[in-house]
Each structure stands twice: as C-alpha cells, then as structure tokens.
C-alpha cells in the first residue's frame, strides 16, 4: 500500500503492518496473541498457588459480580465455598497435615501440607451445559470457550444438572444461568482474562490450548524429576476429568492428590451420550405395549 504524505518517522519502524505497531495487551502480559478461530484456555498449576484469592477478586471486579455471602465457613481459609452464579473463580484450600487427626510425619517438599487450587469453569470441549441448552443461549465462541448469552437464557435450569463439575448455576437475582465466560469481552479486546492477569505466581496461565498442554506436560515431567511423583494433569486428553467422551477440558489443572480432594470427579461422563439409549429404550417399550394393546383390542369378544 502506497501511503501518500506519510510522516518520514513512520518509515523508521521495521514493521510494515501499521496496525500491529501497538501490540495487544495479551502479547505483553501472557505472551499470546488472541485471534478468532483458535482454542484458548487456562492451565491452572496448583503447585504454585498460594491461595491469595486475587483471581476471585479480579473476576468479581471485572465482571461486576455481586457478593455471594459474607459468612465464615470454618473450612480452612475457604470462605467462598463453591463456584456459583456470582462466583466464577473459587480457591479451594485443603490442609493435608493433620487431616483425619493424624499429622503427617513427612511433608511434601513444597507448600508443606497445603493444597490450594483456583477452580473455574472447565470450558469443556464437548460442553455438557451447551449440549443440554434448549435455547442456544450457551454457545461456543470464536475462541473455543463456552459462554451463556444473557439476552437469550430463559432460566430453564437444564444446564445446571448437565454440568459434571457443578459449575453452572441459575441466579436467584435475575433468573438466568451464569458461569465463567473466560472473559469473552476481554478476549475480544485483546486482553487476557482478569484472573490470569492478576495471578501473582502464574498458577493460572492463559494461552493457546496446544501451547498450554505442552507447557503443562513439561511441568509435570519437571515436578516428577524434582521429587514430586504425585503430580499429574486433570483435563488433558486421556487424563482424569476428560473421560467418558469429554475429549478434553480447555481449562485444565495440575494436581498432586486425588481429584476428589479438590472436589473434582475422577471420571465424569458426557451426558448427551445417554440420550439415544434412553430415548430408544423408552420408545421400544411403548411400541411393545402398543402392539399388545392392538392385539387386545382386535381380539374378538370372548365373554361379556
């Protein structure tokens, strides 16, 4: 393109694409360019989580989410409790030492006896909530994330029991389903999600899914080599959490204890796989009984 009256200083830039002179913020903060048509997700490395809850706060701030409760649970430092319609990041706290009244004599070489995990919507590849949604309010975005369209949702609540991770909830405040959007608005503007940006230890990493999965596999190898044999991935292809036809989770985790310890199921399944067996068994039953009825009604009267 020949630009007339171009300022001579502009020619000093070696980049020929003037649009890209100023990089997107995500390139500076997460080292990733956000483009439509690619898969993005979270890799949450629980071994470096310090339980600061900056992600919870950043999420509430950016998404303008109302407070859920102001009570104490008495369950370690977790006063949030669970993911809900108004809480899209939830930091779980597990105190391993002393659990069950027995103090472990030998502690892990990191984090002492603490397990902390920032839980979030998994943005499943075959998202059960999206497959269940009868209005099309839940959809896959151009970034391969799963979002509820608030102007479509009619609060039928069917996505809630569909989710195998207990993430989606229908809000009592507005009667619509809510969950993490993976900061759809921020991605559109070239910003990484608020929780990942606020994470001070990079426990929450945002990026392109294939990059994240490679990075996570390297991290597991590294941890194994450094004496943490319990480290494993949850939600990558073939791993726990990606079972039963779930393929993989776009938000996946590195864990060091059984999934149940973090309130995650070992082997979730894709509910839509049960539609056909159930539907056809029911129809076969009714067809059989209808046939019986046809014989009954057709048979000639034997006695009054």
């Amino acid at each position: 393109m020949n630009i007339l009256h171009m300022h001579p200083r502009a020619a000093e830039h070696h980049q020929s694409n003037l649009d890209r002179l100023i990089p997107d913020e995500s390139e500076l903060t997460a080292g990733v360019k956000i483009e439509a048509g690619r898969s993005y997700g979270f890799f949450t490395d629980t071994t470096v989580c310090i339980g600061c809850k900056a992600c919870e706060v950043a999420c509430k701030e950016w998404n303008n989410l109302p407070a859920d409760n102001l009570g104490m649970t008495g369950q370690s430092f977790d006063n949030t409790g669970a993911l809900s319609a108004n809480t899209w990041r939830h930091v779980a706290f597990v105190e391993k030492s002393g659990a069950g009244g027995i103090r472990d004599g030998v502690e892990q070489p990191f984090q002492s006896g603490w397990l902390m995990m920032s839980d979030v919507c998994k943005h499943c590849h075959h998202a059960p909530c999206m497959e269940a949604c009868p209005t099309g309010a839940l959809f896959k975005t151009e970034f391969d994330t799963v979002v509820v369209q608030q102007d479509i949702c009619n609060g039928c609540g069917y996505c809630v029991p569909a989710c195998p991770f207990g993430v989606v909830e229908v809000s009592k405040l507005d009667g619509k389903a809510h969950k993490c959007t993976l900061c759809y608005d921020r991605l559109k503007g070239g910003l990484e999600p608020a929780c990942a940006k606020s994470c001070p230890t990079d426990s929450i990493q945002f990026g392109e899914l294939s990059d994240l999965q490679e990075r996570a596999a390297r991290r597991v190898e590294d941890l194994h080599a450094r004496g943490v044999p319990s480290a494993y991935l949850y939600g990558t292809p073939g791993a726990p959490g990606a079972t039963g036809g779930m393929s993989h989770l776009n938000a996946f985790f590195l864990l060091t204890d059984r999934p149940e310890v973090y309130n995650l199921p070992s082997a979730p399944t894709r509910p839509s796989r049960r539609v056909a067996p159930s539907l056809f068994s029911g129809l076969a039953t009714v067809a059989g009984l209808t046939l019986a009825a046809a014989f009954l009604f057709a048979e000639s009267e034997r006695r009054p």
Binding site: N69, G157, E260, P268, R274, V275, L289
Partner: protein, 358 residues
C-alpha cells in the same frame, strides 16, 4: 441508591441460620451409614449442583406428558381396531390427551426462572438436548392432539367430515404421544445427576410402561363397557409388570453403580412404598388375583386400582426428581458414581491405574 440485587448484610447471626451463607449453602445432609464413597471429599461439600427444578411442578408435567401421550396412543389403537364399538373410549382418550398441551405446557413455563422468555425454546432444535427434543415433540403433539380433540368435538355435534379429520389427526398425535410419554426419561438420564444418569435404559422403560399404565387406568375410570374395561385392565397389568421388572433391574444397577443410597431418604421411601408398592405392585396384584379367581374385579376395586396406578405414576416422577437432587448433593454418592469403573465398557479410561504416582 438502591441496588438492583439483594445485598446480604453482615450481622451477628450464626452462618447456618442465614440462608445462602457459605457454611450452609451446598452442604449435604450428613452421610449415612450407607455412604458409598469412602475416599476424601472437600469438607463434605457437594461436587455437583442439583437441578433447580420444582419437583412437584416438573414431576407433574412429566406425569401429564406420559398420561396424555399414552391416552392418545390407546385411543388411536382402539379406534383403528374396534372403530365405533370403542367410540366413548376413543373420545375420552382424545380429550385426556389435551392435558399435556394445556396444563402441562403451563407447568413447564411456570418452572422457567425467566418464564416471559419461554419462546426462546423455539430458537433451536438440538439432538443432544432432550429438553429441545421434548419441546418439539410437545409442539407437534399439541398441534395434532388439539386438532384431533377439536374434530372429535365437532363430530359429536354432527359436523360431517370431522370424524375423518379426527381419525387422520390421531395418527400423528399417537406417534408424537409415544415420544411425549418417554422423552422425559432421556431428559433426566442425559444429565450428570448420579441417580438419573445411572440407568438410562431402565429409567426409560419405567417411564414408558408407567405412562401406558396411567393412560389405561385413566381411560378405565370412565369406561362402562365390560369388554373394554377388561381389555384396559389387561393392558394396565401388562404395563405394570414391565414397570416392576424395570424397577427390579434398575435397583440392581443403582446398587452396582453406588447411587442406591440416594433412595434411602424420604423421597426414596415414597418411590419404593407409594410409587412402586401401592402404585404398581398393589394394582397388578389386584388384577392378577381377580383373574386367577375367575371373576372380574368389582367396580370399586377397579377404581381403587386405577387411582392407585395414576397416583403411583405421578409419585414415581416426583420422587425420582427429589431423590436425584439428593444424589447430586451428596458427594459420597456423586464421587462414587463418577469413578472409572462406572464408565462405559469401551472407554479406555475405565481400566486406568490409580491416579498420580504419590
């Protein structure tokens, strides 16, 4: 400034007393002695969220859907095979079929959390969502059954061609009715709620057979013709026998997959004693006993059996919804259910060694 949402105030109230406080919210009832997952849980908190359905409303709809679909089916079969001899039965069947399009649809819209947007159900048609499948089944059933009932009404008042229209419309109504009576089982089975997901096929057989039994029982109540009541009794008995068999099979599956404790509470008692015992076993026994004794049940006994079948059908749906919520709330049930041994046979993760190496 007024907030557009409820702001919970901090106050000197013990957390369990305050609704929605973090301590109380999501907390399951204490695991009973029948706890099935002995491994760790996260402070006993629920791992799944129960469906935000009102059990009586949704259960009521599911029952009416089964009753209406089965009524349309039985009326069509009776019309095709007996014609004028079953005229009264066919008429009542076509009118009973209007329960789902009218009352049932109203119950469905009522259970939405944003009911004024009910029409968004018609934006899409999705094979992965039984609720979407059901929306379109109910739509087609409503159209055909309404036309059929209206034509029946006109025919009874001497409008010439109406009888033919009613008969023509009764065929699509019967086809959609078969779907309407059974898709609700897929609706529950295609979720992550353990009790509903554990036995997709057995649940569908139960819903289907119980719907046919309900339809036969409802049509029995108004029938005076001796031959037709006998046929309806036999049909109801056959459906109840299928229902009880599927119940026995599902009980085995529930025990094997570890969701059986969800049926140990009040809802489970209703399911076992009222829905299965009084609603299926008792009427079946009555029909069988009178057949063995060689005489027909008296009008009173027959009415008792028919009412028991109808009440049992409704209670089966309601109690399964409530017990399903329990199974989602209790992590000992949901974690047991979502173990690799409950994965489908073909899943490669089924035989994976224990998680982690630590």
């Amino acid at each position: 400034m007024t907030a557009s949402y409820t702001v919970l105030e901090r106050g000197p109230v013990d957390p369990p007393d305050r609704p929605d406080s973090a301590a109380e919210r999501d907390m399951p009832r204490p695991a009973g002695t029948d706890a099935v997952w002995r491994g760790p849980t996260y402070y006993g908190r629920q791992a799944l969220k129960p469906a935000p359905f009102e059990a009586n409303v949704v259960g009521g709809y599911v029952f009416l859907a089964g009753l209406s679909g089965a009524s349309a089916l039985i009326a069509t079969v009776a019309d095709l095979s007996m014609g004028r001899r079953a005229e009264a039965l066919v008429r009542r069947g076509r009118y009973t079929a209007m329960l789902a399009p009218t009352l049932g649809s109203a119950l469905l819209a009522y259970d939405l959390h944003t009911p004024e947007r009910f029409y968004n159900m018609f934006r899409v048609a999705k094979g992965t969502s039984p609720m979407s499948i059901g929306t379109w089944i109910l739509m087609s059933f409503s159209g055909a059954a309404s036309l059929c009932a209206a034509a029946q009404f006109a025919a009874d008042r001497g409008v010439g061609p109406a009888r033919g229209i009613a008969r023509a419309a009764s065929l699509p109504a019967a086809l959609a009715g078969a779907g309407l009576a059974t898709y609700t089982a897929a609706l529950f089975a295609a979720t992550s709620t353990p009790l509903w997901a554990a036995a997709p096929r057995a649940l569908a057989v139960r819903f289907g057979s119980s719907a046919i039994a309900s339809g036969a029982a409802a049509l029995w109540l108004g029938e005076r013709d001796g031959g037709l009541t006998r046929r309806l009794e036999t049909l109801a008995a056959a459906a109840l026998a299928v229902d009880l068999t599927a119940d026995a099979v599902s009980a085995l599956i529930y025990r094997r997959t570890g969701v059986a404790p969800a049926l140990s509470g009040p809802a489970g008692m209703v399911e076992k004693v009222l829905a299965t015992g009084l609603g299926a076993a008792l009427p079946l026994g009555l029909y069988a006993a009178s057949r063995l004794a060689g005489h027909r049940p008296t009008r009173g006994q027959g009415a008792l059996a028919a009412l028991a079948v109808l009440a049992g059908g409704a209670l089966l749906r309601i109690s399964m919804i409530k017990a399903g919520e329990t199974s989602a709330r209790r992590p000992d049930i949901s974690f047991r259910f979502m173990q690799p041994d409950n994965l489908p046979e073909a899943d490669p993760a089924r035989d994976r060694p224990t998680i982690g190496r630590g």
